[in-house]
């Protein structure tokens, strides 16, 4: 199955791309997808503990099963609004 991964802010900077299409085995979880990235981008693993993940624009745990066509968001903690 194929999923679209959108990366933001520091995660995008590390991976060097804002959007990637990835082929995964059936039954893969968000966590499996992240291992794929950690293997190719060890620096991303360094911030793994603080990364937020979303499936179809809703925050999701690593244990969530992915489906064909899902949109996965990989992002640092949010810092919008204001620093104040």
């Amino acid at each position: 199955m194929r999923v679209t991964v959108k990366l933001f802010a520091a995660a995008r900077a590390i991976v060097g791309q804002g959007e990637v299409s990835i082929e995964l085995k059936e039954g893969s979880t968000v966590g499996d997808l992240m291992e794929h990235f950690f293997t190719r981008h060890p620096e991303l693993k360094g911030i793994a503990g603080s990364l937020l993940l979303a499936v179809n624009r809703e925050f999701a745990e690593r244990s969530v099963n992915l489906q064909e066509g899902d949109e996965v968001g990989v992002m640092p903690p949010v810092s919008g609004g204001t620093d104040a």
Binding site: F8, A10, R12, F59, S79
Partner: protein, 136 residues
């Protein structure tokens, strides 16, 4: 009334948009770019959003607010792209018949926005640039 935009924000525009004949109160919050952040001089900020999810999360905040307070209208406008010192990054405007729900909902909206709306900023200062929120 929920918007991510690259254009400068207008507080007056948001206030007008939420004001109806039944409103007695409009509370607004404006986040502006500060010259100093965590002791560092700021040259400018770069805001980046996950736009579709950001709008969905703003809609969630509006729903949470409507479940808690009697408000009339709410506008949340967040700017993205490059922002200079004293430019507004976010404008929240809440109208209500009464002042208390307007003020409380406005305070709640900016707290929740900072928790769940996927928007990030990079601080650019004379000695480099930093993504904010990565343990810094």
């Amino acid at each position: 009334m929920l918007r991510i935009t690259e254009n400068p924000l207008s507080a007056e525009g948001a206030i007008s948009a939420v004001t109806k004949r039944t409103c007695g109160a409009v509370a607004t919050f404006i986040g502006v770019v500060r010259e100093f952040s965590r002791g560092r001089q700021v040259s400018y900020l770069e805001y980046e959003a996950y736009p579709e999810m950001a709008i969905a999360k703003m809609r969630q905040i509006e729903e949470e607010i409507r479940n808690k307070w009697e408000i009339e209208q709410i506008a949340i406008h967040h700017r993205v792209g490059r922002l200079g010192i004293s430019e507004a990054s976010v404008v929240i405007a809440v109208s209500a018949a009464h002042r208390q729900p307007a003020l409380e909902a406005c305070t709640y909206a900016i707290e929740r926005l900072k928790q769940i709306v996927p928007i990030w900023k990079k601080e650019v200062s004379p000695d480099g640039s930093y993504w904010v929120g990565m343990g810094s």
